[in-house]
């Protein structure tokens, strides 16, 4: 083995913010299995890329893990049934990101894999790699595609795309992202504690597929228990566990790669451009299950937390369960619940209703209460520069946002509008309460294309 990199490069990146992490609410809650729900809703597009076409017909009996929809396109991933039951009529559902997508409902019926047995199948037990020699890299990538695996960190980019070898862009580092820098969320933290052997196995399988020689797991240094559990599981394997500084947005791909390898991903580029494949720790676990247990991606761990929910929990849930079912499992909402967010408080989407299905990219449901949500009147920008001091991408957010508001397209281009990743540090730090991210997003959408 030729490990040439000296990890961590610096273990940090320039600028960023330190929001109150709120993780104590759910961090020590062991993963619970959501009781079987009466109906699930499988969205046909849960990922970045081409939507799936249904391959089932109404009233058809279907088993857990059977395929429901698939697509021909390279950048896509099939979807599978997450319960045993009966297929319903195709309809449309609005996802938390406000996209209207086609969906297939499934009514649960008959005996289900549930409770402890489900937990053991997805998270528990041993993950021996004795048969890994039988798998070629191409076979692994194909199996990952067929299992419907997408990035479970939130962006839901089809994982198989990252594993297909590209001769022009050789990969030498596989980076597992266990930073979980979004405040409140603890799903990755819990699986690193409860399913570390599976994650380590998944890392080795993924590395074989993409050809990486250096296998690294990056974990923020505020998670010592997760670091300890992962180090224990990684003993005797080529996987190295690296602790990085606790700072938002450390879990952003560009920031993690920079902090761990010292390499800068070009603007508009991918980690692949600098020889790195980045996957979330949960994704690695799903890969292990796909290869070693022949399981498709049907379940994931979701953190239900925040001061507006009665009992915060980390739940193992079927993809397609409604947010309402998850919240009810956590004792329901409190009367002062003010804002319901899919994802974390820095980049998550707010929900208008609880009747939306969990998708593969749902990492958490956060319910903030009246005190958490500080709405203040917007005042004039005094160019204090706090947004500049925190922007991890070295942009001038105030210029971008205010020029976008006035539709001054030459100015927003000069200030590199499209380089912004909308992490929210600027709006978090803005004393004038200017909705910088919102204005920048509007600008990106409204700016005329050449």
């Amino acid at each position: 083995m030729n490990a040439t990199l000296n990890f961590p490069a610096k273990g940090t990146f320039a600028r960023g913010v330190h929001p109150a992490d709120g993780k104590a609410l759910a961090a020590d809650r062991a993963i619970e299995v959501l009781p079987t729900v009466a109906q699930i809703v499988i969205a046909l597009q849960q990922h970045t890329g081409a939507p799936c076409q249904a391959v089932v017909t109404p009233k058809q009996q279907i088993r857990l893990g059977e395929k429901i929809g698939d697509a021909e396109a390279f950048i896509s991933a099939p979807v599978h049934a997450s319960v045993n039951g009966v297929v319903g009529r195709q309809s449309v559902v609005t996802l938390p990101n406000a996209r209207h997508v086609k969906m297939i409902p499934i009514a649960s019926e008959g005996e289900q894999l549930e409770g402890r047995a489900l937990y053991e199948e997805i998270l528990g037990g041993e993950w021996p790699l004795t048969k890994l020699d039988e798998w070629t890299p191409e076979a692994i990538a194909k199996r990952v595609r067929d299992a419907g695996i997408v990035g479970l960190g939130g962006a839901a980019f089809p994982t198989s795309v990252k594993l297909v070898r590209n001769e022009k862009k050789p990969v030498d580092v596989l980076l597992l992202n266990g930073c979980e820098c979004e405040p409140y969320l603890t799903a990755d933290y819990r699986i690193m504690i409860e399913a570390a052997p599976g994650i380590i196995a998944g890392a080795q399988i993924t590395a074989k597929a993409c050809g990486a020689k250096d296998l690294v797991v990056a974990i923020e240094d505020n998670k010592p228990e997760a670091i300890a559990a992962m180090k224990k599981a990684a003993a005797g394997t080529p996987v190295r566990i690296i602790s990085v500084e606790t700072k938002y947005p450390m879990g952003g791909e560009k920031q993690t790669v920079l902090a761990v390898t010292g390499r800068t991903i070009p603007t508009g580029g991918l980690p692949l451009d600098v020889g790195v494949v980045v996957i979330n720790v949960g994704t690695a676990l799903a890969v292990a299950r796909a290869i070693l247990r022949d399981g498709n991606l049907t379940h994931r761990v979701v953190t239900v937390t925040g001061a507006g929910v009665r009992t915060p929990k980390n739940l193992l849930v079927p993809v397609g369960a409604s947010y309402r079912a998850l919240i009810e499992c956590c004792g329901g909402l409190l009367p002062n619940a003010a804002r319901i967010i899919s994802g974390g408080p820095m980049m998550g989407f707010t929900l208008g209703s609880l009747d939306v299905p969990v998708t593969k990219g749902t990492s958490g449901i956060l319910v903030l209460n009246d005190q958490d949500v500080r709405t203040s009147e917007e005042t004039q920008c005094i160019r204090c520069g706090r947004c500049v001091d925190v922007c991890p991408l070295n942009l001038i957010p105030t210029r971008l946002a205010l020029a976008a508001r006035k539709k001054e397209w030459d100015v927003v281009k000069r200030y590199h509008l499209m380089a912004c990743m909308e992490c929210g540090c600027c709006a978090y730090a803005c004393p004038a309460g200017i909705p910088l991210v919102q204005l920048i997003r509007m600008g990106k959408v409204q700016m005329p294309r050449e």
Binding site: T267, Q380, Y428, P431
Partner: protein
Amino acid sequence: MAEQDNTKAVYEVACSPHVREEINTAGIMLDVLIALSPLVLAAFLVFGVAALRQVVYAVLSAWAAESLFNWMRGKPFSLKDGSAAITGVILALSLPATAPWYVAVLGSFVGIGIGKAIFGGLGYNLFNPAMVGRAFVMIAFPSLLGASAYVLPNSTVDALTSATPLTLLKMEGVITGFKALFLGTTNGSLGETSALACLIGGIYLCLRRTAAWQIPVAMLGTMALISALFISFNLLSVLRELAAGAALFGAFFIATDPVSSPVTPKGRWVFGVFVGLFVMVLRKLSGYPEGVMFAVLLANAVTPLINRWTIPIPVGGPVPVRK
């Protein structure tokens, strides 16, 4: 399915991020006022009640001016953001103890009116409002604000009986001791005499990130460099150059006005160097003993250009042009 009692029909929908740092503009302005308090205290100790009287005149008239111009422009009253009070205090601290009341009043009205309101109010002004007011009264009342006006030979206040250190240096070649400059027991504009008070307030501002630290570092560094290279390569002489006159007051409190200084990190360095350079040019080559006010106003004028010249390159390079 049972109806959940606590479930509202509709929840608020908003753009991320959903949490914010507990900070607002008024808090930043309060920070500046806190940082200015050692200067006011020093001015009181050196010049007595006259110093406080000057501050009161300037702040009250700044408030009156802000209210008047807001009313004229049909804008809501904005005194609680604290920016008018800061303009008042800084203007007062840039005046001599001897200036009559109408100097502070007129300076405040011109500073807030011509310096700020006509540009569109807080956040839009091109120039530092206090310096606009100061420049106006200086030109309107040369006899009340010129070097000789600082001196009251028969005053009971010690500091007022001799000329300001920079005037003494320029006109008579008399060097004022560093200890007097550091503590502030010299003549001068109210806020500038005590280097110690300026440093306490200024370092507080920089630590609180309310003032951009690059500006005072660049400005004072440039002045020190010029002083060492062209005047005297001697530590004490360099320190005297920095401690005399309004250099420290200007570096920490005037040049760092966020609205009229650059927002880019590199731009702040350029701005500081520019101000430092002009202060030295004016001090050494012009007829004025001091040049902080004009240097800051000149630098304010080029701030938009500095911003444009120093747009940072994003991490990962510029956005690629799509073919």
